[in-house]
Every structure is written in structure tokens, then in C-alpha cells.
């Protein structure tokens, strides 16, 4: 057969788009380069004036040379006016001239001139008069390093009390000529504590600087388009450091965020490597659309949509079903591959999580569900250094579900027959009856622990990561590479392997005005998994046949030429392979046009491609079909996702009065293209040929999608802080998305944030001295959600790949509604931040309330309309509110021992505030106003009838079987009451121990939902069913055993949809334990290493829960999170 190839056409379109992108890039780059050339001009100063202020003179010098001046305004304001006459003067001369009678000194570093007040208040001329009695000046050379002996490039070395000074070169070396032998050198460097060293007539001075202990309040917080500090932030941003992520043996960084951030809820869906996790920030805002946060990697948006083909699925990690929620929020059977699996967690420097309106409104229509900013590692100034990390680990399923043994199982089956008034059929009397577990066809003395057999293996984990970085003050680089491999616990060799590279180059011009930075990561991921998650098969009868026959082949337990069971190994013979290639890259250029005015632009490009195969050999089919060519199939899918983004931006900052003004203004142009194609091929003559589609007798195109998404925006921010005491921050964005129909594409969003650092008020400083920091802040604003499928506004027909009478058909793709618009979230937040005991204890408490209206509902319709749903804006309102607390404390800090703790706690509440005509809507059987939207209406279970032994419900039906919606009288809120994490870090000499405990209090669906009626053929049960009803008069909570009469089945199924099917799914998990030991310096030196660390790490070490089932987080019969224990070594070379 022939598949129509649309690609040439698509390429043409792609070219046109690239051309547009290129044109813009060229224009912006030209503008920037042009600016650079213009600024590098002669540095001679010509200026004469009488009685001018120093400020004016500095402005002139700056204008003529491009030198930048740093000074305190009060110092300059106190200076005398001066009279100068400069002709072709150098900067140095000019400054000497102008400062000679002032109590000021200057220092030139690169193109920066810093002016400071002289400490000794001596007139400047006195310092230059040599003391006749003093020894003659000497020349000093020296080296400045950090504590570990790494040279510090660009450290300032100043002769105390003079304007003499220099900076260190790349190797940390400096030379100072003509220094008094009794002088003191003041050595300073950003990020290090300033040190004074007495010269004492030494000509060689070697000094090391201690890293400054940075208060958490000074931590730089990224808010995407601009940065601030924790102290001055008016919004709600949580930061997780890369180092904390790298302490966890995971291949998807999302899993390392669990329990670390208040308001960020992550639910792992499966322990299979690469599986998708559910991630929400401050709850589910949208009833029917995406609740995914916006992910930005180094300024480039990264799609949170799984690339796994919805058409062919991802094997053991399931099939993405778009926006799924079954009440627990978990798409049953998984939801495809996590897009973040194609990133290397080792490349991450930090992650900022933006939550409130102040932080997210600048992301406009994409910020509703919060923003996760990922910053990758960048090169640092210093000598070239290598870093190698090698880690090996082993993963196991920890929790076992106690199921019946063969004896108990067979007794249950016999009791079921007895209860149904039937005799157990024997094979001889009814050979057609397929109840092989009990009629003698299967060996009823066999016992298989299916959990051990199917998910009992040890998963291997290997992670190797290497990095080389370094650079001068102007140019820094980082090159990283890694390999990781995570196996599975299934029988057979399956794994997810990753090879990654990461590159960063940063350059600044000599005058420090022009910066350019390029970052790129490339990850190759090779996932090879079974076709199904074998966990679902652990309910096989314990006397089911052996998985292998005497010859080591898959055993089908043939009877009359026909398999008597579905051997679960068939799911491993068939493989799901996926190869993902992911390139993320970003180029950023900035130029400081004027002091305080910076123009910059960011260009981003990501390209992710996933190639999938689901290979099903005929041997996966029961004999005699194991030789049928029709049963050999290979389903292909290729999904190709590209994003480019251009964001020009202007930043301006200026001191106005006693305050600092920051203005940011910019624009965004973004385009995503997603192309996917899926093909089914079958009819291979041999299993050996199934990798080659040319050998297929049938090739069928099963889906072909080509989606374009465009997005444009203008955004701005005005921030002003008055004496670092009163803060205000206004952000706004106007943006447009192609997901909406003409006239509905643009929306405006904005927010105001304000803060009051009350600890700066003298009242608090005088009366509450233990309070080192105190801030009250709040924000209010809006952001939107456009996470809906593309082209929903169009009424269109799609073409079908197969032909009828020689022509391809056209079918209506969907019911169209051209009028829908944004979902709008209005967020309000208030918070209090306190620092106690010199910020050793930092406490923050937030209250937030997000209300999402204008809900864009893929409104389920009765199929009688021809389609299952339509997109439509409903004036329904969902509210997420809650409290978030976090405490960071340095409990003990002394020379050898530190103990630090951090706790975060979130108390979320979700409810449906309004839903017009809910009772008449299609959600009438799901929701109740005032209750959480993650909950569901349910039947009311009223116990087991002591006489009949069956479940009873509050029902209007006389037969006792409840029916929907009339008997949905109960409501089950599937929400977390609270969740959080507790981290403790201890260091003692070279040892470091980190312990992270994650906890969640919640209600979840229980095991009942995954099991068939107790007593039915070939389904084992948890041992708890032994407490079932047996005889009239028994009081039990478990229905009598039955082979599956329609009445008993119906009641059992009704039980699943009632409060009986729900139980406490709270848990406390020792999420991460990391113990490391720094090899002592002496040994390191002998090994020629700059640093060495050996460590043990453990993920999901144990879980405390009352949940009856495999795991309360993954729920159901999905593979639980594995306990992964690793050992590794990290070397700095």
C-alpha cells in the first residue's frame, strides 16, 4: 500500500516559518551587535568646567568612555564642587585630578570605577606623602584562592586606606608595586567573606577566602523575565537546588521534587521507568482542561504533554489519554512517557516554582497552573575543573499485597459454587466449561506467588555523569555528559537508558556591557519495556499454570489445541520500544545601553522526537495462533515536537529618591509544531521479520496529525522598593493564542504584589531584636489557561486513510464552538515571612485563594449528538484555597557539626463554588456544589445483609442494586487533607546525611476497584476477603463469595462506586536518604584529586500506611514506586 506523503508540503510551510524566525533573529542580533560596535570608542577625556559637581563629572566621563561609576550618593553629595581642565586625559588621570582634595578614593576594575569614602578620614593628599621614617615601599606578589585551593579570578586586592589596588588574574595571582611594608591588604570577592591580611614586609602573600554564609534571604529568586531576592520578593516563589535533586536516584527530576515544595503536589503514577507523573501547583483549577504547570527550561517553554502516541500507547507505561482524571487523578494504567524523562536531572542547577498571581501573571494565559522554571548548570569562573560522578543502584518493589494461597483460593471458589446453589462442574461432565482452575484442567496443587514472579526482580540503576567547566572573567564554559540506565522489576531485560550532553558558554565583553550566553542539552533516551505492566496480572489464580513449560518456552497449558489461560509473559514477549531525542537550546544576548538600561533578547529552540515501536511477535499469541502471520504486528509512531521562541526585552533600573525602580518590558513570539504519524503493520511471515515493515503484508496509517500552535504577547513589569522597606510590583501581559477562534484570541492579565519589610521599622528593631527579618506581603491578579487541544474552534472534516470506491473519505472531526475563550484564574494571596535569631530560623506562612471561572469544559455530551463532547466556556467557578507553611532552621552550627531542618506543609482545599444548572448538566452525577471537583458522587453503602450475605446500599430500587444518578446520595472527596515534607540535613566533619520524609493525608479508592468479584474464575483476592459472610446471621463487611451471578456481580460493582470502594490512603514515606563522606584533603592530594565524595542514597526506603494495596500513591494494580538504593562516588579532577 502507499501512504500519501504530505511531508514536502509541510516542509515548505516549515521553511516559511523558519524564515520568519530567522528574519527576526537577524534584526535583533544586528541591533545588538550594532550597539556593541558603537560603544567601544576612544577612552580619552576632554572636558573643562568650573565648580561642577562630581556627579556631573562622572556622567561626562561615563559618556565619553563608557566607564561605569559605582558610589554611594551620600558620599558624592558631601563632596566639594570642583574645577577641572582635562585634555586627552586618561580615566585614571581624570579621577586623580578630580578627587585630589576630596575624602574619596577610587578603584578601577575593568570598566567599572568604584568611588568610596576614605576610612581614616584623612585628607587624600596626606596618604600620598611618604612617611620619612617608614621603611621603603616593597613590591608584593601573591595568590588568592578559595578554601579548597582553587584560584579566584577577579578578586579585589586593595591596600587598606589607599586607592591602590588591583584584581587577581585567572590563576589567582596579583602583583602590587610600591606597598608600604606595614600596610594591610583588604581582599574581597563576591560570594566570599572579605579578609584583611597584614603585609608585615612580606613580598609574597597567599591568602584563601572563606565562602560567605549567605542568608537565605539573599538567595536570588528567578521570576523568569526578571530576578529578585527572597528578601525583596513580593510574589510566592519556592526554589529547589540542583544539589538536592542530584541526591536522589531518579531519572525524572519531577520525582525528586516530591515533598520538597509547599503547594506542589506530585503523584507518581507508576514505578516503571519513564512513567508520567501527575503534577499540580495549588490544586486542580480546571474541570476539564490541562492542570499542568508551565515549564520553562532556560527561558524556553517545554511541553508537558507526553509524546507517547495516543494511538499505539506506550506499553507498560500506558497510553496518554489527554486530560484524564478518574477521581484519584491517576490515569489508570499510566499515561505514557513523562516528557521530563528526556532531560538529565544531573544538568539542573536550580528549579523555581512560581505560584501566586504576582509571580505568574507575567506568564499571562499560560500561568494559571503555576510556572516551573528550570535553570541548567552554567560555567563558572575559575580554573578548568572536571567532575565525575558514578552511581550504581538496585531497585525493588517493597510492599506486597497479601493474596490467598492455593488452598484458600480453591476453598473460596468451592464456597462460591455452594453459595450460588451450583455444583462444581467437573471436566468430565462439562468439558466446554472454561473454569480450568477448579475443574482439574490446571494442577490444583500448584502455587505461584504472582507478585514475586511478575514484579519480584531487582531493577538495576546506573548513573554516570561527568562535567568539565571553568573560564575567565569574560568567558566561561561547561560541558557535561551522562549515561543512565534504569532497569525494571519485570521478568526479562527491560530498561530505560539515557545518554545526554549539556553545553553552556557565557561571554561578557571587556566593558561588561554585552553578554551572550548559549546553552544546549541533547538527550537520547532509549526505553524498552514490556507491552503491559505485569502488575495487573498478580491477581491470577494461584494455581494457574507455570509460566514456562518444560522446554523453557512460554507455557499455554494447551487443552484441545487451545490455550487455557492468558500467560502474562505474553506481555513481555511483546515489546514497547521508544527512542526519544531531545534538543533544548537557548541563546541569550544582552547589552547595557545606558547605566540602568539593558536591552536583551532570548532565542530558544527545542526539538523533541519520539520514535516508537510496539512489536508483537506471534509467540505472544496462544497456540496455534503463534504461527499466524496476522498476529505478528509492529505498530509504529513518530511524534515530532518543535518549539521556537523569541523574547526581546528591555530592562531599566533607576534610583528614584530613596527607592529603586525596576522596569521590564518585552514581547514574546512562540510557535509549536507537533507532527505525529502512527502506522499499524501486520502479517509478517516470521517473528524475525517484524522489525522490518517492508515484510508486512498490511501497512495501515492509523493516525496523522499536524498541529500548529502560535502564541504572541507583550509583557511588562514595574517594581519599586522604597529603602528596601516598602515593595510594590506590578506585572501585566497581553497575549494571544491560536487555540482560540478569531476575535477570542487575545486576553489581558495582570497582578499587583506588595510587601512591607516591617523588621526595618525602628519600632521592631528597638523592641523585637530577636526578629531579624519580618515581611508581610500580598498579591492579587489574574492569569489564564489555554491548555486545550488545538483547533477546537474549527468546524472541520478530517480525511480517512482508507478508501471506499477509490476515494478517501471525509468525516466530521468534532462538534465546533467558535466562541470559546480563556479560563481565567483570579489569585489572591497573603503571607508572612519571619526571620528569627539572625535568620537562623526562617518561617513563612501563606494563605492563597485561586478562583477559576469561565471554565472551558470539554463538555461531555450524549452520544446522540453524534459526538461525545464539545468545548465550551461555562460560568462555573472552581476554588483552590489553602495554607502553606515552611520553616527552615539551622538548629546547630559549629565548626564540626551542623544540623539543618526544613519543613513544608500544605493544607489544600478545593471546591466547586458555582456551576449553573449542575443538576441538568452532564456533571450532575459527578459533582456537588461546595465539594471538591476531584471527588465524586457515590452510592451509600449500608453494610452486608446478615441474611443474604450481599452488599446493601441506600437505594430506591426494590432489587437493592443502586443505579445512577438517582442513588448517588453520598460524596467522596478524593483530595489531600494535607501533605508536605520534612528534611533534615546533618554534617559532621566529612560526613553529610540528608533525610527527606514525605507525608500525605488523603482518601483514595481502595483495592476493591481493581478486583473482580471474590469467587469468580481466575481472580485471586487479598486475604482480607476471608472475613466474608458465610452463613445467615453472620455480620461481615465482605459480601459472600459468588461465581458471578448477575445480581452478585451488580452488587459487587455497585460497591466499587460507593463509599465501600474508598479508604484512607494516607502515608508517610522515607522518600530519600542520602549519606555521603568527603574523603579527607590529605588523601585527596595523594590521589591527585580536588575533591572526592563517596555516598549511599536511597529513594522510597519505606512507607508507613494503612492502605490495603500495593501503594497508596500509585494506587490500583500499577507498579508501585521502587525502593532504590544506590552507592556512588563523586570525584573532582
Amino acid at each position: 500500500m502507499k501512504i500519501t506523503d504530505r511531508r514536502p508540503h509541510a516542509q515548505m510551510r516549515g521553511l516559511a516559518q523558519n524564515w520568519l524566525a530567522m528574519k527576526l533573529t537577524i534584526v535583533l542580533l544586528t541591533a545588538a551587535v550594532f550597539q556593541v560596535n558603537a560603544r567601544i570608542v576612544a577612552q580619552k577625556i576632554n572636558y573643562s568646567a568650573k565648580n561642577v559637581s562630581l556627579e556631573k563629572l562622572f556622567a561626562v566621563i561615563k559618556q565619553q568612555t563608557g566607564y561605569v561609576f559605582i558610589y554611594r550618593s551620600q558620599d558624592i553629595a558631601a563632596a566639594k564642587p570642583i574645577t577641572v581642565e582635562l585634555k586627552d586625559a586618561s580615566v585614571e588621570t581624570a579621577l586623580h585630578e578630580s578627587l585630589k582634595n576630596q575624602a574619596l578614593s577610587f578603584m578601577i576594575q575593568g570598566n567599572t570605577v568604584s568611588i568610596s569614602k576614605m576610612d581614616n578620614h584623612l585628607p587624600a593628599n596626606e596618604t600620598v606623602i611618604p612617611n620619612e621614617n617608614a621603611p621603603p615601599p616593597i613590591d608584593i606578589s601573591g595568590k588568592i584562592t578559595d578554601k579548597d585551593g582553587n584560584p579566584l579570578n577577579g578578586a579585589s586586592v586593595k591596600v587598606k586606606g589607599t586607592n591602590k589596588g588591583t584584581t587577581t588574574a585567572a590563576d589567582g595571582v596579583f602583583v602590587l608595586k610600591g606597598v608600604e611594608g606595614n600596610a594591610t591588604l583588604e581582599i574581597s570577592f563576591i560570594g566570599y567573606e572579605t579578609t584583611n591580611v597584614a603585609v608585615n614586609n612580606k613580598t609574597s602573600i597567599i591568602a584563601s577566602l572563606n565562602a560567605a554564609i549567605q542568608s537565605l534571604q539573599d538567595v536570588v529568586v528567578s521570576k523568569g523575565y526578571y530576578t529578585t531576592t527572597q528578601r525583596l520578593n513580593t510574589g510566592d516563589v519556592s526554589t529547589v537546588k540542583g544539589a538536592d535533586i542530584q541526591k536522589q536516584p531518579v531519572t525524572d527530576f519531577i520525582l525528586a521534587l516530591e515533598g520538597r515544595v509547599a503547594g506542589l503536589y506530585i503523584q507518581q503514577a507508576s514505578g516503571t521507568p519513564g512513567a508520567y507523573s501527575n503534577i499540580t501547583i495549588r490544586g486542580q483549577n480546571s474541570i476539564a482542561n490541562g492542570n499542568d504547570p508551565l515549564y520553562i527550561i532556560d527561558g524556553v517553554p517545554f511541553s508537558s504533554v507526553s509524546l507517547t502516541s495516543t494511538n499505539i500507547g506506550g506499553g507498560a507505561i500506558g497510553r496518554p489519554s489527554g486530560i484524564t482524571s478518574n477521581g484519584t487523578g491517576v490515569a489508570s494504567g499510566g499515561a505514557g512517557m513523562s516528557p521530563f524523562n528526556s532531560l538529565n536531572p544531573s544538568d539542573i542547577e536550580s528549579i523555581d516554582i512560581l505560584k501566586d498571581a504576582d509571580a505568574t501573571a507575567i506568564y499571562g494565559s499560560r500561568g494559571a497552573n503555576g510556572v516551573i522554571l528550570i535553570t541548567t548548570k552554567k560555567g563558572k569562573v575559575g580554573k578548568t575543573q572536571g567532575n565525575l560522578n558514578i552511581e550504581q543502584g538496585w531497585g525493588k518493589v517493597t510492599r506486597e499485597l497479601n493474596l490467598l494461597n492455593t488452598q484458600q483460593y480453591l476453598a473460596m471458589r468451592r464456597e462460591a459454587y455452594k453459595n450460588d446453589g451450583l455444583t462444581v462442574p467437573s471436566f468430565t461432565t462439562t468439558p466446554t466449561n472454561t473454569i480450568y482452575d477448579i475443574n482439574g484442567v490446571w494442577d490444583s496443587t500448584r502455587y505461584t506467588n504472582w507478585e514475586k514472579t511478575l514484579i519480584g526482580n531487582t531493577a538495576q540503576f546506573t548513573n554516570i555523569h561527568g562535567e568539565v567547566s571553568g573560564g575567565t572573567a569574560n568567558t566561561q564554559f561547561l560541558i557535561g555528559g551522562g549515561y543512565s540506565n534504569q532497569g525494571t522489576v519485570f521478568p526479562g531485560s527491560y530498561s530505560d537508558q539515557k545518554i545526554s550532553t549539556h553545553f553552556n558558554l557565557t561571554h561578557a565583553s571587556d566593558d561588561g556591557r554585552f553578554h551572550v550566553q548559549f546553552t544546549a542539552s541533547y538527550v537520547y533516551d532509549n526505553s524498552n519495556l514490556p507491552q503491559s505492566d505485569l502488575t495487573s496480572n498478580i491477581t491470577l489464580a494461584p494455581d494457574a499454570p507455570a509460566i514456562y513449560d518444560a522446554n523453557g518456552k512460554i507455557n499455554w497449558q494447551i487443552l484441545n489445541g487451545k490455550a487455557t489461560w492468558a500467560n502474562p509473559l505474553a506481555g513481555t514477549v511483546a515489546q514497547a520500544k521508544a527512542i526519544t531525542n531531545n534538543l533544548t537550546s537557548n541563546l541569550g544576548a544582552s547589552y547595557r545601553v545606558l547605566d540602568g538600561l539593558e536591552v536583551k533578547s532570548s532565542f530558544g529552540y527545542t526539538h523533541t522526537q519520539m520514535n516508537q515501536n510496539i512489536l508483537v511477535p506471534a509467540t505472544a499469541s496462544a497456540p496455534p495462533n503463534d504461527f499466524n502471520p496476522a498476529n505478528r504486528s509492529n505498530n509504529f509512531a513518530t511524534t515530532d515536537f518543535q518549539t521556537w521562541i523569541i523574547e526581546p526585552q528591555v530592562n531599566y533600573q533607576k534610583k528614584i529618591s530613596k527607592g529603586q525602580l525596576n522596569v521590564t518590558f518585552g514581547a514574546t513570539l512562540q510557535q509549536n509544531t507537533k507532527k505525529s504519524i502512527a502506522e499499524r503493520t501486520s502479517g509478517y511471515a516470521s517473528d524475525a521479520l517484524i522489525s522490518n515493515p517492508l515484510a508486512a503484508s498490511t501497512i495501515q496509517l492509523s493516525s496523522n496529525a499536524d498541529v500548529l500552535y502560535r502564541y504572541s504577547a507583550l509583557f511588562g513589569r514595574i517594581g519599586y522598593n522604597w529603602m528596601e522597606k516598602y515593595l510594590i510590583n506590578i506585572t501585566a501581559r497581553r497575549d494571544g493564542s491560536s487555540r482560540f477562534g478569531p476575535g477570542k484570541q487575545f486576553g489581558n492579565f495582570g497582578a499587583v504584589g506588595a510587601g512591607w519589610i516591617f523588621s526595618k521599622e525602628s519600632f521592631f528593631q528597638n523592641n523585637l531584636s530577636f526578629l531579624s527579618f519580618g515581611k508581610l506581603k500580598g498579591s492579587y491578579g489574574s492569569s489564564g489557561n489555554d491548555q486545550i487541544p488545538d483547533y477546537q474552534y474549527l468546524s472541520s472534516y478530517s480525511s480517512l486513510s482508507s478508501t471506499y470506491q477509490g476515494i478517501t473519505g471525509l468525516y466530521p472531526a468534532q462538534l465546533a464552538n467558535p466562541y470559546f475563550g480563556w479560563e481565567l484564574v483570579k489569585k489572591i494571596e497573603g503571607s508572612l515571612e519571619l526571620g528569627l535569631l539572625k535568620d537562623r530560623i526562617l518561617i513563612s506562612a501563606n494563605y492563597y485563594r485561586d478562583r477559576t471561572g469561565n471554565q472551558l469544559v470539554g463538555y461531555p455530551l450524549s452520544a446522540i449528538t453524534g459526538f461525545p463532547s464539545i468545548q465550551f466556556n461555562l460560568p462555573a467557578v472552581v476554588q483552590n484555597s489553602g495554607w502553606e507553611f515552611s520553616i527552615n532552621a539551622v538548629n546547630i552550627r559549629n565548626k564540626n557539626f551542623t544540623w539543618m531542618s526544613s519543613v513544608n506543609l500544605t493544607l489544600p482545599a478545593n471546591k466547586l463554588i458555582a456551576y449553573p444548572n449542575l443538576a441538568l448538566s452532564s456533571y450532575s452525577s459527578a459533582y456537588i456544589i461546595g465539594q471538591p471537583i476531584s471527588g465524586r458522587r457515590s452510592y451509600q453503602y449500608t453494610g452486608v445483609d446478615p441474611q443474604k450475605g450481599v452488599y446493601t446500599f441506600a437505594t430506591k430500587n426494590s432489587n437493592g442494586i443502586p443505579s445512577s444518578p438517582q442513588d448517588l446520595v453520598s460524596f467522596l472527596p478524593f483530595t489531600q487533607k494535607f501533605y508536605g515534607g520534612l528534611q533534615n540535613s546533618f554534617t559532621y566533619k566529612g560526613f553529610q546525611l540528608d533525610i527527606l520524609v514525605q507525608f500525605t493525608k488523603q482518601l483514595t479508592r481502595n483495592y476493591l476497584n481493581n478486583f473482580a468479584l471474590p469467587g469468580a474464575f481466575n481472580t485471586n483476592q487479598p486475604v482480607s476477603v476471608l472475613g466474608r459472610w458465610q452463613n445467615p446471621g453472620d455480620n461481615s463487611s465482605i459480601q459472600k463469595f459468588s461465581t458471578g451471578t448477575s445480581q452478585n456481580s451488580a452488587l459487587y460493582n455497585a460497591g466499587k462506586s460507593s463509599n465501600l470502594g474508598v479508604s484512607d490512603g494516607s502515608f508517610i514515606r522515607l522518600k530519600n536518604l542520602s549519606l555521603s563522606y568527603h574523603i579527607p584533603d590529605g588523601l585527596q592530594k595523594r590521589l591527585h584529586l580536588h575533591g572526592a565524595r563517596i555516598y549511599l542514597q536511597a529513594q522510597n526506603l519505606f512507607t508507613i500506611t494503612n492502605y490495603l494495596g500495593l501503594d497508596p500513591e500509585t494506587g490500583g494494580l500499577n507498579l508501585p514506586p521502587l525502593r532504590m538504593i544506590t552507592a556512588g562516588v563523586q570525584l573532582a579532577l
Partner: protein, 466 residues
């Protein structure tokens, strides 16, 4: 140049980008889709919108599923799976917990597509009248065809004749009689609009391919509908129309009945191309190993009279050696190769003879009935019927339908229901349901309305007993 001035130019440039942004986000439709308004501006696209319904009917296995589900519910097939859903059907233990049963969703999707075509062609100046008539006729035919199945499977169903979801989404169930009126009106319209002959994709040029409904297909469906409504005179008249059309001739060779464009075919569905087999029915019923799905039931096997050639020609045997067991399978379709020689039969002449025989018998025209019945019996190699009274004849005709139309589009199940014989055939001790291992529940005559549908449409009610 003054740096401030330059930065102003840059800022201005950013501003100037913005009007471009407005256009930037206005994108065209995806190249994998065609905007609806354009579909009905040309004949080829409108035709493609019509023929896709047949493609979907084939791809969605409608013929196979209706024959399978109703064959299992009735006494035609034996279940060999342990699948919950299929086992429940086999045991006549339908329940809402099984999820949606039957073609509800698909049928309403075909009806939507038909309604969209009927609306798109109304007052349409782009498409010539001849084309428009043929396509409207086909759409009305398809709409009637699926309403016929819906009411016979589910009882009263919502009657949707437009495309406005705001009206349709809460439509209540309409009494069966009212839906039947629509079926008759649509089929009557279709008979007037459709070509006498079969047409190709031009919608006007005649072809030998009997894969799209024509005037006789509408008449044949009308004959069946009138029979079900017990309007025997009309049923006889419509069946006669078809029988008298000399392009339809019963195949004397039973092996040729289900070939593509067989002389007996009134309407067939071709298999959409590309394909690796001929028909889903052939592909899924023909046994190449011991059955792991279904095989013909002992009830059906024992129904055939001695010497009935249909038993030897339309039923295949698969023998296992150890132990020696024979399994019987539906072998009306024989070809499972990728060379297409067979099409899926939807309407065929033999049914029209049996409709007319029954209509005549009901009206007291016993000799006419006997003559029609004998035509079918003789073709199968059987002697003339011995039945001579009206009641004996009606029983003989029902029996003949069972032998002739077995495992085709659910005929047997519908016959049992409409003739009121279902409870005795299925229900009495020792009868069909018990031998299948189930317990007969008369409420099973109607499928349950899918629970999901009731959940989203507050005006839908459930059938009794569910």
C-alpha cells in the same frame, strides 16, 4: 548616534512587532482537516463525506458485531471466551455494569453525519441536483437504516434529525412508533431520490459495484420495516418491487451468494482499501484453530433439515485431533486472503422472498407464501414445504429464516422478538438460555441504554430491569 535614541528605536521595533502578533496567532486550519463549510461546495468532497459512512460502518465492524452479539444472545453461537462482557451477553445477563452495549454511539455518529449531509445539501447552489439527490437519498437511507437497528435493539430512542447539539444533547426517548414513522418517511424519500442503478463516485455514472444504496435498497429496507410493523400489504408491495427488478436474481450456487456484486446483492459494503482480507465476518468467524472466540451453537446445527445444502456450503468445520472434536463456524464468507472477491452483504434478495412469504401468509395468501418459501428452499436443495396452514406456514417461514439468514446482522434475535417467540425459545427449561449456562430474563429483549448516556442526558430513562 545617541544611545538613548537607539534604544528608543529598539523599543519602537518591539512595539511594531505587536500588530504583527495579531496576525501571527491567526492560523489556518490544519492540513489534515477540511473546514466544514468547504465540504459541501464541491461534489467530490460531499461524496467523500457520504462514502466515509460506509467506510466507518465497515471499519467499525457493524456487521460482525451485530451478528456476534445477537447471535450469542440468541441461540446461534457458542461462546469460547472468558471475557466478562461476552460471557454476560452469552448468558443473556446484560447489565449496565458492562459499559455500553451495541452500536448506540456509532449509530448516532452515522446519523449525525447523515444529518450534516442532508443539511449541507439543502439550498445548496454548488452541487448539481442529480448529485445532491443521490447523496441526500443515501443519507436518508443511512439515517433510517440505523434508526431501524436502534429501535429494535434499545426500544424507544431519541430521534435526532438535525445537527444542533444544544437541541440534541438533552433529547428524550421517542416512542418507537414515532421513530418508525421517521424511518418510513426517510426510506420513502430515499426511494424517490436514489438512482435506480448503482452509481460510482461521480454519483451519476452507473457502475456494477453494488456498494452504495440505490432505489431498490430503500424499497428492500421499507419491506423489512413494514414487516416488523406488521403492515403486511405494504411489506408485500415493497418486497415485490425488489423481486420484480430483474437485476436481482437468486444465485443458484450457494457458494456465490456472498461474492462481491453477487446477483442476489441489493446492498453490500466493500472493504475499505488497503486491506489484508475480504470481510470482517469472514476474517473473524472462519476457524483456523480451535475456537477461542465463538463457533456455531449446537442449537443452530440441529436446526438444519437433512439435505440442506446451506449446512454444507455455509458452515465450515474445524477438527481438532487430540481429542477429536469438530467445531463449526460461519462460512458464508470464505475468502480470508488479501485478494478481494467478497463484500459484506447488508441486504439481499433471499430476505425479500422470505419477507413476502411471511407478509402473504399473514394476509392469508397461502399459495403465494408457499411459492416464495419454496423458491428459497429449492435453492438450498430442499423439497417444497409441507406446511399448508397459516400457522404452520408462519412457523416454517421462521424456521427458514433461521436457516437462511443465520448470523447475518442479527436477524434471528430480531425475529424471535418480533414474532413473540423469544420467551419460549430462550426461556423455557431445557431451552436455549439454559443450555448456554444462563438464566433467561425477558427484560434482555432490549439492551440497556448505556449508563454513560443516562449520566450525561438527564432526559434519558433506562429500560426496564436494568
Amino acid at each position: 548616534m545617541n544611545p538613548l535614541f537607539k534604544s528608543c528605536i529598539l523599543a519602537l521595533f518591539i512595539f511594531l512587532l505587536f500588530p504583527g502578533c495579531q496576525k501571527f496567532v491567526q492560523i489556518g486550519p490544519p492540513n489534515t482537516q477540511l473546514v466544514t463549510s468547504n465540504v459541501f461546495t464541491s461534489s467530490p468532497t460531499a461524496t467523500a463525506a457520504q462514502t466515509v459512512i460506509y467506510t466507518n460502518m465497515s471499519n467499525n465492524l457493524e456487521s460482525y458485531l451485530l451478528s456476534l452479539d445477537n447471535g450469542l444472545l440468541a441461540d446461534e453461537l457458542t461462546n469460547y471466551t472468558t471475557d466478562n462482557f461476552q460471557t454476560a451477553i452469552y448468558h443473556d445477563a446484560l447489565n449496565v455494569g458492562l459499559g455500553g452495549i451495541g452500536p448506540w454511539t456509532n449509530a448516532y455518529n452515522y446519523i449525525y453525519q447523515s444529518n450534516a449531509i442532508i443539511a449541507g445539501l439543502r439550498n445548496n447552489n454548488f452541487i448539481p441536483a442529480k448529485v445532491s439527490n443521490q447523496l441526500s437519498g443515501e443519507s436518508k437511507f443511512v439515517r433510517a437504516f440505523w434508526y431501524f437497528y436502534l429501535i429494535n435493539l434499545y426500544g424507544d430512542v431519541p430521534l435526532i434529525t438535525g445537527t444542533d447539539y444544544t437541541v440534541n444533547s438533552t433529547a428524550p426517548r421517542m416512542p418507537k412508533a414515532q421513530v418508525y414513522q421517521q424511518v418510513i418517511a426517510d426510506l420513502t424519500d430515499a426511494e424517490g431520490l436514489l438512482n435506480n442503478n448503482y452509481v460510482d463516485i461521480s454519483d451519476t455514472t452507473i457502475t456494477s459495484e453494488r456498494v452504495r444504496p440505490n432505489k431498490s435498497a430503500a424499497a428492500a429496507m421499507l419491506a423489512r420495516t413494514y414487516l416488523y410493523l406488521k403492515k403486511y400489504d405494504s411489506a408485500e408491495a415493497k418486497a415485490t418491487e425488489v423481486i420484480n427488478n430483474n437485476i436481482y436474481v437468486l444465485n443458484s450456487n450457494l457458494d456465490n451468494v456472498f461474492l462481491k456484486n453477487s446477483s442476489e446483492a441489493i446492498w453490500q459494503l466493500m472493504i475499505p482499501l488497503p486491506t489484508s482480507f475480504n470481510t470482517w465476518d469472514g476474517f473473524l468467524y472462519i476457524l483456523t484453530s480451535a475456537p477461542n472466540n465463538v463457533a456455531i451453537s449446537p442449537d443452530l446445527m440441529s436446526n438444519f433439515e437433512a439435505g440442506d445444502n446451506r449446512k454444507s456450503h455455509w458452515i465450515g468445520t474445524y477438527n481438532t485431533t487430540n481429542p477429536q472434536t469438530s467445531y463449526y463456524f460461519v462460512n458464508k464468507y470464505k475468502n480470508i486472503s488479501s485478494t478481494v472477491t467478497e463484500y459484506n452483504m447488508v441486504l439481499r434478495l433471499a430476505e425479500q422472498y422470505l419477507i413476502r412469504a411471511e407478509a402473504r401468509a399473514q394476509q392469508g395468501n397461502l399459495s403465494g407464501a408457499i411459492s416464495d418459501l419454496n423458491i428459497i428452499r429449492n435453492r438450498a436443495g430442499l423439497a417444497n414445504t409441507s406446511a399448508s396452514t397459516q400457522s404452520a406456514l408462519l412457523i416454517a417461514i421462521l424456521h427458514e429464516r433461521q436457516s437462511e439468514l443465520f448470523v447475518e446482522w442479527g436477524h434471528r434475535w430480531f425475529d424471535l422478538i418480533r414474532t413473540g417467540t423469544i420467551n419460549s425459545v430462550m426461556g423455557s427449561p431445557g431451552n436455549a438460555c439454559q443450555s448456554k449456562g444462563g438464566i433467561w430474563n425477558p427484560n434482555s429483549q432490549l439492551y440497556p441504554i448505556p449508563q454513560a448516556e443516562i449520566n450525561v442526558n438527564p432526559n434519558l430513562t433506562q429500560n426496564p430491569g436494568y
